[in-house]
């Protein structure tokens, strides 16, 4: 994060130069995208490990479970198709991403030890990176509503209040939701990055 701050400062200093902020922004975006991709892969791996460790009968049940329950980040309104996503501004995408990442900071602590150590630190770093991107893209035009960060999910303690007999169910939900959210953030960041790139062609 320190490195990112330095980069941000440098980019601010070189605001006078036209191309600099964009390049730095691109670089920051690339970093953020790669980090969220990594988180997504982690979530994927954890989920598959968890599913393989379950019995066949339990796996069958999980489908039903998932249908009935929902993720803790459902309160965050986010675009769910391409059209919506492209209609959203970069800032909106960034802010949504920020909120999504932030929403997982607490629940990730309720995960098992292995996941927690790996995910928590990366989540916080990613959050910082997105914040930097927000600050960089704002250019003072809009103040990031930090207050939204305080809007914790009404079910913030949802997972912590559960009993041990439902831990299996909750673990699965947690992992599945986490995986989905990471993919969301990855998509949003990628779209935002491509939006900001000078070339129309965004694929490398």
């Amino acid at each position: 994060s320190n490195c990112k701050r330095v980069m941000f400062v440098l980019s601010l200093l070189s605001v006078g130069v036209s191309s600099q902020p964009i390049t730095d922004g691109q670089r920051l975006f690339s970093i953020a995208v790669s980090r969220v991709q990594h988180l997504h892969l982690l979530a994927q791996r954890f989920l598959s490990d968890f599913e393989s460790s379950l019995q066949a009968e339990e796996q069958h049940q999980l489908n039903k479970i998932f249908l009935q329950d929902f993720c803790n980040s459902d309160y965050i309104i986010s675009p769910i198709d391409k059209h919506e996503t492209q209609r959203s501004s970069v800032l909106k995408l960034l802010s949504i991403s920020y909120r999504l990442v932030e929403s997982w900071e607490f629940p990730s602590r309720s995960l098992s030890g292995g996941l927690r150590t790996q995910i928590s630190s990366k989540l916080s770093e990613l959050k910082t990176g997105i914040l930097l991107l927000i600050r960089a893209s704002q250019d003072g035009t809009e103040i990031f509503p930090d207050s939204s960060a305080l809007q914790l999910a009404p079910y913030g303690n949802y997972y912590q209040s559960l009993g041990p007999d439902e831990s299996l169910k909750r673990t699965y939900e947690l992992l599945a939701c986490f995986k989905k959210d990471m993919h969301k953030v990855e998509t949003y960041l990628t779209v935002a990055k491509c939006r900001l790139s000078p070339e129309a062609n965004c694929t490398l």
Partner: protein, 620 residues
């Protein structure tokens, strides 16, 4: 009545039975959703497999509900995607939303529900194969390569970053079966190297989103690589020529140094050439005498292994008490091969290289050259013999070993000559005897073929007796005493052997060996016709031995020695050199000095017999 009832029943059965079988309707079987796919993460399609239709026309319906909503919706489009499919268009597709999809089959009799399937569009993306695959041969460099380029499927929106695709290429030669896979990442271009000249290649490409399934392989694109073999050929030609050149050089070097290399790799194993060890003797001897043949005195090792080096060229016989006789009786024909061999002060004693007396190579062709040497060599051998015994008995008197060698068997061919002194030898006989002796010495055969003389017969006989089966035995008795008496008798004998002119160099003259060393010990090279023992200089291992250059008229063994020590003997040289047919550089020693030296030698040597004494034997 009953009959009619039965008939009616039968009729009913007959009529209705077939119909019942043909029209066994049932509700439809359970359909199954086989798969749902989204090509671009914006729309998706689901396909199902119908179960049995139950014999009635069956309709299928797909119902779905999204997560967090209980509203059930039906498939909006059944046709676009074909039979038994449902197509969700953009408006109906939501990403990151769980769909719960169920297919219902309905017919007149009933309906059956399929198992519900939960899908999230994000995870069912299977894009179309990449499009517009182009393969070109790039020949800018000497080695051509293939450049493959393609486009993403037109439906997939990679431009806005909505979907990120990674690509994979596979290449193979037309006739091969195995494909060569290359992962190209997100780029839309790839280079393939290491092509076979003139080969026909097939290239295919496919893609996959970061989350999802691999697409199908694109249609194969064919390309033919032009022949660039000529370039390869020139390179190979150069390489071949160069390597051949190197190879020739290496071969030539190897050939030049073949010998040294051979010695380096396979160092020559020194043969079992034991000086003084008679192989022939060993071969011919009986089992009982094997051990005696093995008795070897402590030979001083000599540097030269040359056969010729072993022979004494000059012998200076030492006769202490009869010096005057000796001096007066200078060997007239002192064809002493004064070949540059100097007799040192102490060379008088054992000029003959006693080692060499026992030639390890018996029967060699060089006998003829060394016939004369034998005579002088005989004296040496005697001394040598004494020496051997001395080693065993640790004698140390000044006198020559009194080889009470009777007890032991000394391997000396000089014993051959022990009987000789008793006879006065004709010069001819002498010569022949020498020859014989030499031959005997050399070949370990008592009767050298074709050279037996009357003179020699007796000695030969005695020799035989002495030698026994095939090794020399020192004759005991008077001879022995004569022989073994310190030099004097030998000198006497030598002197008595006035006819014997050792100094007379024989037919063959051995050229003086180069580099005569100052050694007391001399190798008997040959005994010339003049009965001069030609001694070849030998490298001394000790100062106790000197090479006998020859024997002059005075029955003086001329020892050769390098160096200036014997300068004082130069005077004697003059007299001696008269007898020398060929002047030699070496100086000979006076007998008196030889005597002295001999004594020293006797003392110093580890029982080494002074060859001079021994050699003098036959001369007399």
């Amino acid at each position: 009545m009953r009959k009619s009832l039965g008939m009616t029943l039968l009729w009913f059965v007959l009529v209705f039975a077939p119909r019942a079988e043909g029209t066994r309707y049932s509700p439809p079987g359970k359909p199954t959703l086989t798969r749902c796919r989204s090509p671009e993460k914006e729309t998706f399609t689901c396909w199902w497999e119908p179960g049995s239709d139950g014999g009635l026309p069956t309709t299928y319906a797909l119902y779905y509900c999204k997560e967090n909503s209980d509203a059930v919706h039906e498939c909006p489009d059944y046709q676009t995607a074909g039979e038994n499919s449902c197509f969700f268009n953009k408006n109906d597709t939501s990403i990151w939303v769980n769909y719960n999809i169920t297919v219902v089959a309905t017919n007149a009799l009933g309906s059956s529900f399929s198992d519900p399937v939960d899908i999230d569009v994000v995870y069912i993306v299977e894009p179309n194969p990449p499009e517009r695959l182009t393969v070109t041969v790039m020949e800018d460099t000497s080695w051509p390569f293939l450049r493959v380029s393609w486009e993403p499927p037109h439906k997939a929106d990679t431009r806005s970053g909505w979907i990120t695709l990674i690509y994979e290429i596979r290449v193979k030669l037309e006739q091969e079966t195995e494909w060569e896979m290359h992962l190209a990442g997100q780029q839309k271009m790839f280079n393939i190297f290491s092509l076979r000249s003139g080969g026909k290649y097939l290239v295919q490409v496919r893609c996959k989103p970061d989350q999802g399934f691999w697409s199908e392989w694109s249609p194969a694109s064919q390309i033919k690589v032009p022949e660039y073999f000529h370039q390869e050929k020139s390179v190979w030609l150069l390489v071949t020529v160069f390597s051949a050149f190197i190879f020739l050089i290496l071969t030539w070097l190897l050939h030049l140094n073949s010998r040294s290399l051979k010695h380096f790799i396979l160092p020559p194993v020194p043969g079992p050439k034991i000086k003084g060890f008679d192989n022939q003797l060993l071969k011919n001897c009986k089992s009982g005498e094997v051990f005696s043949t093995l008795v070897v005195s402590d030979f001083p090792p000599t540097a030269s292994s040359n056969y010729e080096d072993l022979l004494v060229e000059y012998l200076e016989v030492y006769v202490p008490t009869e010096q005057e006789q000796l001096e007066s009786k200078k060997l007239h024909n002192g064809c002493l091969k004064c070949e540059g061999s100097t007799s040192d002060s102490d060379s008088g004693r054992g000029s003959c290289d006693s080692r060499t007396l026992l030639l390890d190579k018996c029967g060699e062709a060089k006998e003829d050259e060394r016939q004369k040497d034998q005579r002088s060599a005989g004296t040496d051998a005697e001394r040598q013999q004494q020496g051997w015994e001395g080693e065993a008995m640790a004698y140390a008197h000044e006198d020559m070993v009194s080889p009470d060698i009777s007890g032991g068997r000394v391997k000396t061919w000089p014993s051959v000559f022990s009987p000789l002194p008793q006879f006065s030898l004709h010069p001819q006989e002498q010569q022949s005897s020498l020859e014989m002796a030499k031959q005997h010495y050399l070949s370990d055969s008592l009767f050298p073929p074709g050279s037996t003389t009357s003179y020699f017969t007796q000695p030969v006989h005695s020799i035989k007796e002495v030698l026994g089966p095939s090794y020399w035995e020192f004759s005991s008795g008077s001879k022995q005493s004569d022989l073994l008496h310190p030099h004097m008798p030998s000198c006497r004998q030598l002197q008595a052997h006035s006819d014997v002119n050792i100094s007379r160099i024989g037919r063959k003259e051995v050229p003086p060996p180069a580099g005569l060393q100052s050694t007391e010990y001399a190798d008997i090279q040959r005994v010339t016709q003049g009965e001069t023992v030609l001694v070849q200089p030998k490298m001394p291992q000790g100062e106790d031995y000197s090479k006998v250059k020859g024997v002059d008229r005075d029955n003086m063994l001329l020892l050769q020695r390098e160096g200036m020590e014997s300068d004082e003997q130069q005077e004697t040289n003059g007299s001696k050199e008269d007898s020398c047919t060929s002047p030699t550089v070496t100086t000979t020693k006076k007998i008196h000095s030889a005597t002295r030296i001999r004594g020293e030698m006797l003392l110093a040597a580890n029982g080494y017999v002074d060859t001079a004494t021994i050699c003098s034997q036959p001369i007399q």
